[in-house]
C-alpha cells in the first residue's frame, strides 16, 4: 500500500526539473522522439509553449499537431501571446472561421495552405489537416494530446517531421474503432492503438518523461486519481491542503439533500450524492435532473472560490461548473433539465460527454457515474479512461451522482474478456480503477 503525502515537498522545483530534462533530451540530438506523459492539469500547454520557444530560439521552424480544432485554437492563442515577436500560423480547412480571441491577435495568420503561412515561425494545425499536406518536411513537430491520436493517423503525418515531441495523458480515453475485427491484435503496429504506444513498441530507446505534478487537481483529489488511474506513474498535487476553498454566499433553505451534498463537497472536495437503488435506463430523469439541480442549487446559493490564483476569492460563475456524462443523449437531457431549474445561469453551465470534456478544466464538476442504475457493467462503462476524464476536470470539488448498487455490480462482475496472445494487459484495469474511486466516494456519501 503506497503511502501518499498528497504533495511533494517542492512541486514547482520537481515540475521544473522534469521540464528541463525533457528539453535537454530534445536538445541532445540523440533521439528521434521524446515522450512526455502528462497527468491531468500537469502543465502540458506550458510545456508545449516552452518547447516551441526553445526550438524557435534554436533556429527551428517547428510544427504543432493537435487533435481538435478547439485545441489548435487554444494553442495558437497561447503561443501568440507568449511570443509577441513571432508570427504563429494556423493551418485550417475551408470553412473554418477563427474565434474572436484569435482574430484579435496581431501576430497570427490563418491560411489554408502552407504557402499562405510562409512567414510564420510556428505552424499549428489538427492532425487531420496535416494529413492533407504533401511533401513539406520540418525538423521538429510537437504533438499535443498525443495519446488520443490513433496509430493510423500518426502514419499519415510522420513523414512531415524528422523528430517529434509527443505530449499527452495516457490515463484518459484511448482512440478506438467501431469496426469489430481482431486481425491486428498482438501486432506492434496495430492501427487501432494510440500512436505513442505503437511508436514506443518499435523504438525501445525513446525516453519517456513524466510530469510529476498536477496543478489543476486539489490536494483532496490528486492522491486518489493518481492511485486509481496512474498506478505505475504517481503524481502529486501542486497545491497544499489550504490553498483551495469553496464557501457559500448564502445559507441554504429548502433543499436539504442537495445542500448536504454541496456542503460535503465544499468541505472535503468530494461528494457522492447517492439516489435510491433502482435499475434504470441511462436516460433516467431523476438521476439527470438531480445532477442539473445540484448545479442549479450551487448557482442559486452562490459560491466563492479561493485559490492560489485568486487569493481574495472569486465568485463562481456558470462557466466554472461542468456536468459530465457518458453518453450524448444524457448530455441533451441534462441540458433540458438545467433549463427546467429556471436558474438564469443554467445555460452557461457546460454539459458534455467525457470524450468532449478531455483537456478542459472547471472549478466544480458534477459527474453522472457511468455505472449508475445499471444491471451489468460493460467494457465501455467500466473503461478507466472515461472515469478518469470525468473525475479529473476540477480545481475545487467533484460531486458524483449515482444510484446505490454500483458496489454490488462491481462485486458480481463476470470476468469474461477474451484473452489474446502476446498482448500486454492494459493498466489501469477498469474494474480496479472503479473500485478505488467507489471506495473513496463511499467516504463522502450523502444518501438522498
Amino acid at each position: 500500500m503506497r503511502t501518499d503525502t498528497g504533495t511533494t515537498p517542492d512541486p514547482a522545483a520537481a515540475a521544473a526539473a522534469a521540464t528541463e530534462a525533457v528539453l535537454a533530451d530534445m536538445a541532445s540530438g540523440r533521439h528521434r522522439a521524446v515522450v512526455v506523459d502528462s497527468p491531468p492539469g500537469a502543465g502540458k500547454s506550458t510545456l508545449v509553449a516552452r518547447a516551441a520557444h526553445e526550438l524557435t530560439a534554436g533556429g527551428e521552424r517547428p510544427i504543432i499537431v493537435a487533435q481538435t480544432n478547439n485545441q489548435v485554437d487554444d494553442l495558437v492563442v497561447r503561443l501568440a501571446r507568449d511570443h509577441p515577436g513571432i508570427v504563429v500560423g494556423r493551418l485550417s480547412a475551408t470553412g473554418y472561421s477563427p474565434p474572436p480571441v484569435l482574430d484579435a491577435l496581431t501576430n497570427t495568420t490563418v491560411g489554408r495552405t502552407l504557402a499562405d503561412l510562409a512567414g510564420c515561425r510556428i505552424v499549428v494545425a489538427t492532425a487531420a489537416k496535416w494529413a492533407t499536406v504533401r511533401d513539406a518536411t520540418f525538423g521538429w513537430a510537437i504533438l499535443d494530446e498525443a495519446y488520443q491520436m490513433r496509430s493510423d493517423m500518426l502514419l499519415q503525418i510522420v513523414e512531415r517531421f524528422d523528430r517529434g515531441l509527443f505530449v499527452g495523458d495516457p490515463g484518459q480515453l484511448d482512440p478506438f474503432t467501431i469496426v469489430g475485427t481482431e486481425r491486428w491484435i498482438g501486432l506492434p503496429h496495430d492501427p487501432t492503438q494510440n500512436g505513442v504506444s505503437v511508436m514506443l513498441a518499435h523504438n525501445q530507446n525513446i525516453p519517456v518523461h513524466r510530469l510529476p505534478v498536477s496543478w489543476r487537481l486539489p490536494s483532496s483529489a490528486a492522491p486518489t486519481i493518481s492511485r486509481a488511474f496512474y498506478p505505475f506513474t504517481h503524481f502529486s498535487a501542486g497545491t497544499d491542503d489550504d490553498a483551495r476553498a469553496l464557501e457559500f454566499r448564502t445559507a441554504g433553505f429548502g433543499r436539504t439533500d442537495l445542500d448536504e451534498t454541496l456542503a460535503q463537497a465544499f468541505t472535503t472536495g468530494w461528494a457522492l450524492h447517492e439516489l435510491r437503488r433502482r435499475h434504470v435506463p441511462r436516460t433516467d430523469t431523476e438521476t439527470l435532473q438531480t445532477a442539473a439541480d445540484l448545479a442549479g442549487r450551487l448557482l442559486h446559493r452562490g459560491a466563492v472560490a479561493t485559490c492560489e490564483r485568486h487569493q481574495g476569492g472569486r465568485p463562481l460563475e456558470p462557466g466554472d461548473i461542468a456536468i459530465g456524462v457518458a453518453h450524448r443523449d444524457q448530455a441533451d437531457l441534462v441540458r433540458a433539465a438545467l433549463a427546467r431549474t429556471g436558474n438564469p445561469g443554467a445555460p452557461g453551465v457546460t454539459v458534455d460527454t467525457a470524450n468532449r470534456l478531455q483537456g478542459r478544466e472547471f472549478e466544480v464538476v458534477i459527474v453522472v457515474h457511468p455505472l449508475s442504475g445499471r444491471r451489468d457493467a460493460t467494457a465501455f462503462h467500466l473503461e478507466a479512461g472515461r472515469l478518469c476524464v470525468l473525475a479529473s476536470r476540477h480545481r475545487q470539488a467533484c460531486i458524483v451522482v449515482a444510484r446505490e448498487g454500483i458496489a454490488d455490480l462491481l462485486d458480481s462482475h463476470p470476468s469474461t474478456d477474451p484473452v489474446h496472445l502476446s498482448v500486454r494487459a492494459k493498466f489501469p484495469d477498469g474494474w480496479e480503477a472503479n473500485q478505488i474511486m467507489l471506495d473513496k466516494l463511499a467516504q463522502h456519501r450523502v444518501a438522498a
Partner: protein
C-alpha cells in the same frame, strides 16, 4: 441495440414467432449462389472432414476425407473442393463490360455458408492452402494454392460491411428477423429457422427443442456433435482404417461407403435447411442501395481476378504496418456507408436511428423556396430554407450534412438550427443540392409545407487517407532490425513442417 429493436425481440418472445426487424433484405442474393457446408474434424485446425457443395439444391456434391489426419488426403480434398469452387468462380469471369479502368465483370460469385463458423473453416482452409507449392518435396495438386488464395480473398472481403460475396446464412436471417431467443442461440441455424419457419407439424417450441437435439438436427457445422463423433464416426473411421491395413478392396469400398453415408446423414439436413433459408430470404424484397454495393463487389472481384491472372502473390499472413492502416480506413468507410445505406433504404432502420436522435422525420412547417446565396465565386445559387417539425429527439449539430430518402436522388441539405419547443423540435435546414443547375430549383426538389420528410446524416465522401509507400515504412512503425518478412513467409510455409504422424 435501441429500445426499438429490443422491443422487436421481446415481441417475438411474447408471440412465439419471429418478427421482422427490417423492411428489406440488405444483402444481395445471387440467382445462383454456391452453398458450401464444411465439416471439420474435432480437435484440430485445418483438418477438414467433409463438405457439401453446389449451386442448386438438387446439385449437391458430397466430398469426404476418409482419413482426416492424412496430409495427402487433406490436399486431395482441397483439390476436389477447389475444382468445384474454381469452376463456379470461373463461370463469372466470362462476361465483361466497359473499357480500360472501368472494365469489369458484370456479375460476381456468391458463396453461402451456414454460419460464421463456416467462414472460419474456409479461412483456415484458405490459409492452409495458399502458401503451398505445386512442386518440390511437399507438392500439392495444382488447384490447391489458387483455391487457397481465392478463399482468402473472399474471407477478407467478407470482413467488410455491406459486401455479399461470402455470407453466413444465420447472419442474413438474423439481420432481417428478430427471434425470441438470445444471439448465442441465433448462431444455431436450426434454432433460428425454428422461429422463422418451423418444420411442418411442429410449433416453435417443439422446433426449438429439436434444433438443440443433435440426434434429430445434426449441427450445421463446422463442428460435429461429440455424441456423433464418439458413437458413430470414430468407429466408422476405425473400420475404414482397418480395411485399408488389410488391403481388402471389398471391405475398403464397403467401409468407405458406410462412412460417406454416415456423413451424408449429418450434412444433408443442414443442406436442405440452408436452401430453405435462401428461399425465405428471396421472398424478402432487396434494398435499393444493395445494387450500388454489388457494383463494388464486381469491381473488387474483377481487380482480384486480374491480379490472379497476372500471377499475383498469396496474401500475407499478417498485415504489415501500412497495409493494416489502409485496411482499417476502408473497413471504417465501408461500415459508415453500409449503415447509412440501410437507414436510407429502410424505414425500420431509419426509425431506429430516429429514436436515437441520429436522424429525424416530420412535417415541413415553413419554407423559403426562393432563397438564394452568392458563393465565393460570385455566383447566385439557390439555397432554400426549410423548417421541419418533428417529435424525434434530434441530436444532430448545426452544420451536419444531410441526405433524404423522401426527396429525389441527389438531394442534399445542411442543418442550420435545431430548436426544442416543449415536446417537439424544429429543425431548420438549408437545401444545398439536387435542385438542378438553374437559379430556380426544379419542381419537386424542395420540400413544401405540409409535406412529410425524413433526413439522415450524409456519410460523405472523404478522400482516401494517404500513407507512406508500402516499402517505406516510417521509423515509428518499424523496428530497426526488421528486415523484409515477406520472403520468410514463402520459405517456411511451402516447406512442410509436419512433424510426427500419429
Amino acid at each position: 441495440m435501441s429500445t426499438l429493436s429490443a422491443l422487436a425481440y421481446v415481441q417475438a418472445m411474447e408471440s412465439m414467432q419471429a418478427v421482422p426487424l427490417t423492411e428489406f433484405r440488405h444483402r444481395r442474393l445471387s440467382a445462383r449462389p454456391l452453398v458450401i457446408i464444411p465439416l471439420a474434424m474435432a480437435g484440430e485446425a485445418g483438418a477438414p472432414l467433409a463438405a457439401m457443395v453446389g449451386s442448386a439444391k438438387r446439385n449437391g456434391t458430397l466430398l469426404v476425407v476418409a482419413q482426416p489426419r492424412n496430409r495427402d488426403q487433406r490436399f486431395a480434398f482441397a483439390a476436389d473442393l477447389g475444382q468445384v469452387v474454381m469452376d463456379y468462380i470461373d463461370s463469372f469471369r466470362q462476361d465483361r463490360r466497359g473499357e480500360g479502368e472501368r472494365s469489369r465483370y458484370t456479375d460476381a460469385p456468391q458463396i453461402l455458408v451456414p454460419n460464421p463458423g463456416g467462414i472460419k473453416a474456409l479461412a483456415d482452409l484458405g490459409r492452409m492452402c495458399r502458401f503451398r507449392s505445386t512442386s518440390g518435396p511437399y507438392a500439392v495438386p495444382d488447384a490447391v494454392p489458387k483455391f487457397g488464395m481465392w478463399l482468402t480473398f473472399l474471407v477478407e472481403r467478407a470482413e467488410q460491411a455491406g459486401t455479399s460475396m461470402l455470407l453466413p446464412v444465420t447472419g442474413m436471417l438474423a439481420e432481417h428477423w428478430a427471434t425470441g431467443q438470445s444471439t448465442i442461440e441465433d448462431q444455431n441455424l436450426a434454432s433460428l429457422m425454428a422461429w422463422i419457419a418451423p418444420p411442418p407439424g411442429l410449433n416453435v417450441e417443439q422446433a426449438m427443442a429439436e434444433a438443440e437435439n443433435p440426434d434429430v438436427c445434426p449441427p450445421a457445422g463446422p463442428s460435429t456433435s461429440p455424441e456423433f463423433d464418439n458413437r458413430d464416426l470414430a468407429p466408422a473411421i476405425r473400420r475404414f482404417d482397418a480395411a485399408r491395413t488389410l488391403d481388402d478392396p471389398h471391405a475398403l469400398a464397403a467401409t468407405e461407403r458406410e462412412l460417406r453415408e454416415l456423413i451424408a446423414g449429418q450434412i444433408q439436413p443442414t443442406w436442405r435447411m440452408v436452401w430453405e433459408a435462401i428461399s425465405l430470404l428471396r421472398s424478402v424484397p432487396e434494398a435499393p442501395r444493395t445494387a450500388k454495393r454489388f457494383e463494388r463487389d464486381c469491381k473488387a472481384f474483377t481487380d482480384y481476378s486480374d491480379y490472379r491472372d497476372s500471377g499475383g502473390l498469396p496474401q500475407r499472413k499478417r498485415d504489415a504496418a501500412i497495409g493494416a492502416a489502409r485496411r482499417l480506413g476502408w473497413l471504417e468507410h465501408a461500415l459508415a456507408e453500409f449503415e447509412s445505406d440501410m437507414a436510407f433504404d429502410d424505414r425500420s432502420v431509419l426509425a431506429d436511428r430516429r429514436s436515437a436522435g441520429e436522424a429525424f422525420a416530420g412535417m415541413v412547417v415553413e419554407a423559403e423556396p426562393s432563397r438564394t446565396v452568392t458563393t465565393a465565386k460570385d455566383r447566385r445559387v439557390p439555397r432554400p430554407l426549410v423548417t421541419v417539425r418533428t417529435d424525434d429527439p434530434v441530436r444532430l449539430a448545426a452544420d451536419t450534412r444531410l441526405i433524404s430518402p423522401s426527396m429525389p436522388a441527389g438531394h442534399k441539405a445542411m442543418i442550420v438550427s435545431v430548436v426544442r419547443d416543449g415536446d417537439t423540435t424544429r429543425v431548420t435546414v438549408e437545401v444545398t443540392g439536387g435542385m438542378g443547375r438553374g437559379r430556380i430549383p426544379k419542381q419537386g426538389t424542395v420540400p413544401e409545407p405540409g409535406q412529410r420528410v425524413a433526413y439522415l446524416p450524409d456519410p460523405g465522401w472523404r478522400p482516401a487517407p494517404q500513407f507512406p509507400a508500402s516499402d517505406a515504412t516510417p521509423w515509428t512503425h518499424s523496428a530497426a532490425d526488421e528486415g523484409d518478412t515477406d520472403s520468410a513467409v514463402l520459405d517456411d510455409a511451402a516447406a512442410e513442417e509436419w512433424g510426427n504422424e500419429d
